[in-house]
């Protein structure tokens, strides 16, 4: 009895010790100084949890691009040193990561719409640009209202509009959209609902009908919705706005209710290998949107394979190089490095959030520059300005052939006027909401 009590006390002491050790670890967290010719670049990453599958490719793609830049002498001699903070797609942990590296951030890319929403306020105060490519706050295309936020490419509204234009193209013109029924099956959250105003506006313009099927996260069971779409609503087209692992669920369900796969179009967030691999053969022929070119046949990715992986300095399994998520990482890396480069040219070292933001606003990726970077066809030409933070861009459409993605369309632009007027409207609402009192 006495001995047992002793053990318990000893264990208790150990427990207290662990708490103390844990806390002191936080205390010893030393701020990291960037050397003279070095840019210290903290990164928020998701390597755990349900979203790690694709997100890890995006993070590693960026790192491989940074590694390539560094191996070729850096940005005019300045190397990039990065450090990861894993937040597992959990918003509170993203806030903690942000605070952990506060003051070190040059540009924040959490690759999570909820996280960028939660960070917005701090980014604004600290004057650090937060980007969430093809996501985040759609109206942050308006650089005046959102000086420190940007969707960079294809905000959600452009995605929705471009997808409708693609359907119109397949139907043989907008005139043929009249009377058509479009089923929109989506995750029931900020991400999944953003297309609503665009669909409403376009439905009024072109006379088609659309209906929403919201799905509660994790949306792994969608059978009833699909029975309704196919057998009661008799949809002509279906658009999915699922996320992560719910992207492949419709493939099984469509097969079961006999809805044709060729009348089904996925969002670009359901357009990576990880999203549909679990569906196996059922996904053969599936079409999804995308905002960049696919495959390894871009000079910049070939260079990465040769130099970075040649030197065994890669940041991910080599067979994932050239996947959709990976290419997204590389193109994000390109944009970040361009922003760094512009900022260095304009202000010199050391960099801070505001300088990089200004550098970002100076980005002009025209055909000539894209060719220089070896990224022709990987991303469309882009140009930002203090008033325009990107986001109104065309989409590519791609089809899964069972093994890989094949691009099957040209760049399909959104209906620019509709998207622009929505951006103006929402920005005005935001200003009213925050600048009261």
């Amino acid at each position: 009895m006495k001995k047992k009590l002793f053990t318990r006390n000893a264990l208790g002491a150990l427990a207290v010790g662990l708490v103390a050790a844990g806390s002191s670890l936080v205390a010893t967290l030393s701020p990291t100084w960037a050397g003279e010719s070095e840019i210290f670049h903290p990164m928020m990453v998701t390597r755990t949890g349900p979203f790690a599958s694709a997100a890890s490719g995006v993070s590693s793609g960026q790192q491989d691009y940074f590694a390539l830049v560094n191996m070729n002498g850096g940005i005019d001699g300045t190397k990039i040193r990065w450090e990861e903070c894993d937040f597992g797609y959990k918003t509170p942990r993203a806030l903690e990561c942000y605070e952990r590296y506060r003051g070190d951030w040059k540009i924040v890319y959490p690759n999570s719409t909820p996280a960028i929403f939660a960070l917005a306020e701090r980014l604004n105060t600290d004057e650090v640009l937060g980007i969430n490519i093809a996501g985040g706050r759609s109206e942050s295309s308006d650089g005046e209202t959102f000086p420190f936020l940007s969707p960079v490419m294809l905000n959600f509204w452009s995605q929705a509009a471009s997808t409708i234009r693609y359907i119109a193209e397949l139907e043989g013109g907008e005139a043929n959209l009249a009377g058509k029924k479009i089923a929109f099956i989506h995750i029931d959250n900020a991400y999944g609902r953003q297309p609503f105003p665009i669909f409403d506006a376009l439905a009024e313009m072109y006379g088609f009908e659309w209906k929403s099927w919201p799905l509660g996260w994790p949306a792994l069971e969608q059978s009833a919705a699909w029975v309704e779409i196919a057998r009661r609503y008799h949809a002509d087209w279906a658009i999915q706005w699922n996320y992560g692992q719910s992207c492949n669920v419709p493939m099984t369900e469509m097969k079961k209710v006999g809805f044709p796969l060729e009348k089904f179009i996925g969002t670009l967030w359901c357009g990576s290998e990880e999203d549909i691999l679990p569906a196996g053969d059922l996904a053969k022929g599936y079409i999804s949107a995308n905002y960049h070119g696919v495959g390894k046949e871009f000079p910049v990715i070939q260079e990465i394979i040769e130099q970075v992986y040649g030197a065994e300095k890669g940041n991910i399994e080599e067979d994932r190089v050239g996947t959709v998520a990976y290419n997204r990482g590389v193109l994000t890396g390109i944009i970040i490095v361009e922003a760094f480069r512009n900022a260095i040219e304009e202000y010199g070292l050391p960099l801070d959030g505001r300088k990089v933001r200004d550098g970002f606003r100076m980005i002009k990726l025209d055909d000539a520059r894209l060719a220089e970077l070896g990224a022709t066809g990987l991303l469309p030409p882009l140009a930002f300005s203090p008033t325009y933070h990107g986001g109104i861009d065309p989409q590519l459409f791609q089809q899964w052939d069972g093994e890989k993605w094949e691009t099957i369309s040209d760049w399909i632009p959104p209906y620019e006027d509709v998207v622009k007027s929505q951006i103006e409207k929402a920005s005005a609402e935001y200003r009213a909401q925050t600048q009261q009192q």
Binding site: T48, E83, G216
Partner: protein, 368 residues
């Protein structure tokens, strides 16, 4: 035979005090001094990344501890109560310009009203059944917040708050936000300490230990069970509003999902059911440990140069380690971390006091 035991009245009076033992008082003063004096010397990372969220989570955990720890009614809906408070807060302050202190009360009251409805099934069911009923509430409340257009969560599901002013003072610096949160937490803690030592608190404990017996003895089930749920939700609601006003600056539905409710339940179980102190210790454990592990892992990664283990492996090892730690602490101290303090302080108090205190270690009991 000790003197005090011969004079029950003295003992009762002593028990009725807010903090019956001298060591608790000393501890409380020490904690308060540290909580007030230390923060100006801490960086923003500590304040915004650790302390503020920890304080806010503690408030919510404290509320949950009232219903689950004191009254013995398990609840997995605390996250949703926080959501109710957050959205009520952001609407009351942002849309109608109601002053912050009043807004906090309204947020708490609104959550309490919802809590009364959610708590109703507790009159008939307990244990796992109640857990599922509150879980249902968790889902349904969030669903409603997203679906009612008036709330305005609409397509964005996020509402921003205008700049926060309290009595003309602009609260935007980390330190100000911290003191604001500390002030709210302190008030609510004192209230909870008082409440749990009052007639109400004893009624709850009677319900927890034996609700049939309590009801036979004239403790009104309807009144006290609903009250426990309402007060717990009130705390949750205020904590939710504090998330908006002192931490994130916006209300968004996805932050209050089931994960948060489970985390909160975890906090009070690890910290100690039926213990005010335990709510804080649990919040510290659940909020701090993953971060501490993550930083430790990060340092390991940095030292190893990334050659030995991949970043993904380390990130997942953090998950694994945190799970193991939960189990470890539960085995070491099934009554919660607060019990460690009681045992430690009990022995100190015995040395401090000429008479061994009567209110030493609580007996080992089943909290539910």
């Amino acid at each position: 035979m000790m003197v005090e035991e011969c004079f029950p009245a003295t003992r009762l009076k002593k028990d009725m005090a807010l903090l019956p033992r001298r060591i608790d008082k000393l501890m409380m003063i020490a904690v308060l001094v540290v909580a007030l004096a230390l923060p100006p010397f801490l960086g923003d990372y500590w304040l915004k990344g650790v302390m503020i969220p920890m304080l806010i989570l503690s408030i919510s955990a404290l509320g949950l501890n009232i219903v689950t720890g004191f009254a013995g009614l398990i609840s997995l809906g605390q996250g949703a109560f926080m959501a109710v408070g957050a959205f009520t807060g952001v609407i009351a302050y942002g849309r109608y310009g109601i002053p912050i202190p009043l807004t906090l009360l309204i947020a708490g009251a609104m959550a309490a009203a919802v809590g009364a409805v959610v708590g109703a099934p507790s009159l008939r069911i307990k244990g796992l059944y109640l857990l599922v009923a509150t879980l249902a509430a968790q889902f349904i409340i969030l669903w409603v917040i997203q679906r009612v257009p008036w709330i305005g969560a609409g397509s964005m599901v996020t509402i921003n708050t205008p700049p926060v002013f309290i009595a003309g003072l602009h609260i935007d610096e980390a330190l100000e936000q911290y003191y604001f949160a500390l002030c709210v937490a302190a008030l609510l803690t004192v209230f909870a300490l008082n409440l749990t030592r009052s007639r109400v608190g004893r009624a709850w404990m009677a319900i927890r230990e034996q609700d049939v017996a309590a009801s036979v003895m004239g403790v009104s089930m309807l009144r006290y069970k609903l009250m426990a749920f309402m007060i717990s939700a009130f705390y949750g609601g205020i904590a939710g509003a504090m998330v908006v006003f002192a931490w994130v600056g916006a209300a968004s539905v996805q932050e209050y999902d089931l994960d948060l409710s489970i985390q909160l339940l975890g906090m009070i179980i690890i910290g100690g059911l039926g213990s005010v102190l335990g709510s804080y210790l649990g919040a510290i454990f659940v909020a701090l440990f993953p971060i501490a592990i993550s930083i430790a892992m990060h340092n390991i990664y940095a030292i190893s140069g990334g050659d030995i283990v991949s970043a993904a492996t380390l990130a997942n090892a953090e998950h694994l380690l945190f799970g193991a730690l939960i189990v470890f602490f539960l085995i070491v101290e099934p009554l919660g971390l607060s019990h460690l303090w009681h045992r430690f302080s009990g022995s100190v108090e015995a040395k401090l006091s000429r008479f061994p205190t009567t209110n030493q270690t609580p007996t080992r009991r089943r909290p539910m």
